[in-house]
Subunit: 230 residues, 2 copies
């Protein structure tokens, strides 16, 4: 019997690598993406292409209006995306690209779908190393979410010993290690998109935190990034 | 200085009572309602009327497509709403009206808004007595959510000692106690709506679990329910 897993797929480098990892572990993947008022809707096109190429069981896009809440450079035009920052600078404080409670909201949707599918495994591409400023990328957050998830759902009241598990295979990896892992698993990174501030055609800016980290990851592997840059 | 609170307002008897309680405790209330594919959209009209009458600071309606996930009689026409069940029967197992991970999703949105507003208090009208079959109405779930919430957000990484608190003033009350509390606080229950299966005009069926519990709550207070019934 195959195991089902719900996976959060943004269309970026990290979640695409996680998809390859989940499939390599024998999971049938149910991928979910979110239209949450992010500036860069081409992410969703990338996610759809990736889901199709990987042959996931199902891919659903959920529209939620986190943008109505505001508070992030990724959802509000009035807040500028920072450019050309050094890693050191990125690791201090909570960046303006942090979307309030985003991973909590995304994981809650994943939990709802997992409950309906009777899937006990959720995969998310959070990373505590490069994004140390995002509170909802830390291992202690993931652990607390897992505890809550088992109490929130029918899983927690059944006595079959089955429990929800939130898998975070990238949490301690550097971007270089992520690229290395994905490359070994045959991930085609040219169709992934990471930029916080792309051109209207979807080409990456090459200067935001996400681009800087991504380019560094390829460089440290002696590879060049096959994604499109402006 | 007034304190801000985010409150989940469904338009029903419970959340309307919680709104009165939060205001009686001196909170400026930011109410949120959800259009989540529930069959009875008149709930949202009731919520808007209640929010206006109570003079909340702001009322936002968020559209989310939990219905795309399925699995509940409240979001799927194919699953029938049970009628004329005794309290005893309602308290066994998870009812088909349970919406998978609904309170987790709703509270996650509340958390996101709280973070942006810098509000440290979230109010939700869950009740562990009448809805013992819903895993996400239990005190242990609320406690686990609170722990997770403080790790998920900027609140948890600041050293100001401020922490998110999830208030559940109704959690141990009977429906009769809820009606009694709200009546003392001047709640106008005629504009609230509780029915799982109302007429297209919004009149309550009088027979679903929600109607049965509500009618019992008024009866035990020697009151009649001023809401509209079919």
């Amino acid at each position: 019997m195959t195991k089902k897993a719900v996976l959060l797929l943004s269309g970026g480098l990290d979640s695409t690598t996680v998809l390859a990892i989940a499939q390599s572990q024998g999971f049938d993947v149910y991928a979910m993406s979110f239209n949450y008022g992010q500036r860069h809707a081409h992410e969703l096109k990338a996610a759809a292409t990736i889901a199709k190429q990987a042959g996931v069981k199902e891919h659903q896009v959920f529209t939620i209006d986190l943008g109505g809440i505001g508070g992030s450079a990724l959802t509000e035009d009035a807040i500028a995306v920072p450019k050309d920052r050094e890693s050191e600078e990125m690791s201090h404080g909570i960046p303006v690209t942090y979307v309030p409670a985003r991973n909590t909201v995304f994981l809650s949707f994943a939990l709802a779908w997992a409950e309906v599918l009777k899937a006990y495994d959720i995969f998310i591409g959070v990373n505590a190393l490069d994004y140390s400023g995002y509170p909802d990328c830390r291992p202690e957050f993931i652990k607390a979410f897992e505890t809550m998830a088992n109490l929130a759902t029918a899983f927690g009241v059944k006595d079959d010993g089955q429990r929800i598990r939130v898998h975070t295979p990238l949490i301690s990896m550097s971007k270089a290690q992520i690229v290395e892992t994905g490359t070994k698993l045959g991930v085609d990174y040219s169709i992934t998109t990471s930029c916080y501030d792309p051109t209207p055609e979807g080409a990456a800016c090459g200067h935001c935190d996400a681009c800087s980290l991504r380019l560094k990851g390829f460089r440290e592997n002696g590879m060049s990034d096959s994604g499109a840059y402006a």
